[in-house]
Amino acid sequence: MGLGGMLARWPLVRQLTRGDLLGRGDSVRSPATERLRPRTATADRVVGSICPYCAVGCGQRVFVKDERIVQIEGDPDSPISRGRLCPKGAATKNLVTAPRREYRVKYRRPFGTEWEELSLDAAMDMIAERVITTRDATWQSTEGDGDEERPRNRTLGIASLGGATLDNEENYLIKKLMTALGVVQVENQARI
């Protein structure tokens, strides 16, 4: 760009050339301002979602760019929420991208004083072992004797208390698996 071009881009000169003598409008806009667009417009995809906080079930739109969530906002199409969100719903991006989230398995051995690292695979295997061991140790196949004998098919050695932000599909697998294992003490937040 020549000197003339540079001069022409000088807002002071533009104040004169654009008739913006007071320098409060167009003449002072920077190139970055000229380029400004909502970041949702440049998202790679928009994913339909539902707010994970209370049970109103507000619609959310999740904007993804380069496999990262760049914005979550209300879905204006929802007949429930009409695009609106409460402070919690509005903080959803902060929730799911928060630096305080845990991304690794943490393990505390019996009587341990600190968290230890543990691979996910090892943790899964250990938990499966604990379930089997406890179940075997606490299994109740029947109650009563003789004519009074009745089936129990269960263990009271294991309990589960789930949150109520789990998906229906997740609850379904929990109930199905636990019932098959004979774990009857399966409860959730709805009881609290």
């Binding site: 707010c51 079930g57 007949p79 050695g157």
Partner: protein
Amino acid sequence: MAECHPVGFQWVMEAKERGATIIHVDPRFTRTSALADIFVPIRPGSDIAFLGGIVNHILENERYFRDYVVEYTNAATIIKADFRDTEDLDGVFSGFDAKKAAYDVRSWLYDGMEAPPGVPHGEQTGGAGRPIEHGEPPQDRSLQHPRCVFQLLKKHYRRYTPELVEETCGIPRQLFLRVAEALCANSGRERTSAFCYAVGWTQHTVGVQYIRTAAIVQQLLGNIGRPGGGILALRGHASIQGSTDIPTLYNLLPGYLPMPHSERYLGHQDYVRKNSAPTGFWGHMEEYFISLMKAWWGEHATADNDWAFGHLPRIDGDHSAYVFTMGMLEGGVRGYFLPGENPAVGSANGKLNRMAMARLDWLVVRDLVEIESAAFWYRSSEIETGELRTDDIPTEVFFLPAASHTEKDGSFTNTQRLLQWHHTAVQPRGDCRSDLWFYFHLGRIIRMKLRDRAPDDPKNRPVLELTWDYPVEGRRAEPSADAVLREISGWGPDGKQLSSFTELKADGSTACGCWIYSGCYRDGVNQTARRTPHREQSYVGAEWGWAWPDNRRILYNRASADPRGEPWSERKRYVWWDRARRQWTGIDTPDFKRTMPPDHEPGKQAAAEEALRGTEPFIMQADGKAWLYVPEGLRDGPFPTHYEPQESVFRNPLYRQQSNPVRQQFRHPLNAYNNAPDAFDDDGLFPYLLTTYRLTEHHTAGGMSRSVEYLAELQPELFCEVSPQLAAERALEHGGWATIITTRTAIEARVLVTERIPSVRVQGREVHTVGVPYHWGVCGLSTGDAGNDLLPLALDPNVHIQECKAATCDIRPGRRPRGAALLELVAGYRQRAAARPPGRAGRSSGRRSER
């Protein structure tokens, strides 16, 4: 509602702008009150007296919707002659066994009926309620028979006068009358009123009866099954409705089928017979049940093996959350899963919960952040006081990071029974996984191990024969939520997705994981993922998501039409009988057999819904009626009755019976009560009422809000709210600190002195309430003491939910003592409480659960 469901509150504001009167009843003036037309301050724990007063007002002033009441409720039904009301027996119903602290409910039944075979197990009750034996109970449609429900109701509530309401609830009678009149004036043919409630009603030792009282009001006013009516539970979690529909609850199988009890059944049919009614839609329970068994055990569930009925574990008592928490304390429960739950903060009596977890062998916590329930072994008030020492705690703790809702597919069921799908936006990072992944792979690994080790052990058969072959996708082998939803919705013999639960068969040809969700994958389309913009459809929004059952948005909506099938009024037109096409139609899916005309009379052999009349809209009930009176299915009485909370500073003004006689109490040193059972606090040891609640800015136990900067900063510290009078009485300084004390523990909170928490006049004296939000704990960005630590375990006998909206406490200025000094402070109070003469009020009762 503005506090905890702000976006839902937009519809209340819409209604208000259109002229609706918004009435807010609450112990404190909240953000909802600020926008309401009428704010009604109420003493915590006295709502049945208030609602009962409304019932009485409606009856005494003949304000009920007579046609609705006579036709659609059991008002005309005549009750057994040996039934005795609380009015007769000074606070208990007939059949009360003081020793067992339980009722024999046989005298409560409809006249001419006998108790169904088998032992009734309250904990086993599914959605069916208990069955009414087939047959027509005697009725008096003039409502004059002294034993008809209507007359009994009148008698039961006769003493719930405006004066009594004032004496009990602290609501000035003029204000009460204004509310009662507003409700009556806005009900009837042309208008409807709605009730919205949340855990302020459920978390009581009489929680179920709170809702029941509202149900009586709404039945009398004709506000059920009609647009703008109903009793709407404002549930607090994204899929808490879903977690009862597809229950992770000990007493239920999917779709409110009861979990089988350990009594001897003569096969699945016997179980079905004992747990369902032959009339109404529960007449199809066998179809629902066998389809579930087919979904779970597939080819291993056959007619020959009784549809794998024997694979189901049996319950034989109360296995609910607080009961098994006591089990941990006592050592029987050794392993504990906490997927997304934080009992160290969120459950009543946090200390008891934490002490219980410290006795486990192993604990699995799955959450987004490290919550208090994962950290109790090194960071908790018990570590601080020395009650627990990290080195001594045997619990092995696995913390597994969870995937967020944006990192997995799945459906939530919202508070209005609407299933809505959320799609995966991004893949979870690191070790984060969905709970679907966790349970699928846990099951896969366990099955692998059991197959290797003991494939023939009979106890392993249910696990090994389980259908557990969901397709997985991606690098992380994420199971397909879509496939799980298909199983939930169900398929027929040709493998085609079912359209509705009405297609379910009892011959094993259909499989369905949850009958009420059947059809959510209708036509092979994930109906829960439908997102037709609201502008492009009617206000019912039927093309957005999918509501159970059969995409109905208002349950029992046949009641929106009169017995002849005409809308009660043009204004309230919703579902009606189309004479020309001879079917039910409307702007919602009719909640009625579509082709059953209003004049349908059941034949002698008719079963299930065919056994109901065309004028009986409440098709899940055995008699097709809404129940003003509950003859069977509740543990604590056919009518709601005012009882004082477990902890109270007042004598029950109505009866010698102080509290719900069949409530559940726990005797354990960690669960001391502020007053002896059925006594009340009148010596000033715990002179104040204590109530807990949520704030808009936070979510439940705080795991999803105290860890989020933008929320934590909005309410950065635990505070308590007290009235200026209480502040003056106890020298509490606004902005300073206060220590709140019960026999469980003491916590500290910043003080907000505010007129918004009114002191109310009850029984001639002014009583003050201490309000405590319960969101805080020791982890996260914003930390503080946990309000729930103050509360005892005392449960509703029907649903085992704790009373945490009404308790008593003491409050002092300043911060609480640290370490062992805290224990000394509480011990002092406990000793003084224990030293008091017991049973100052009424008779002693209550079920003590000791395991």
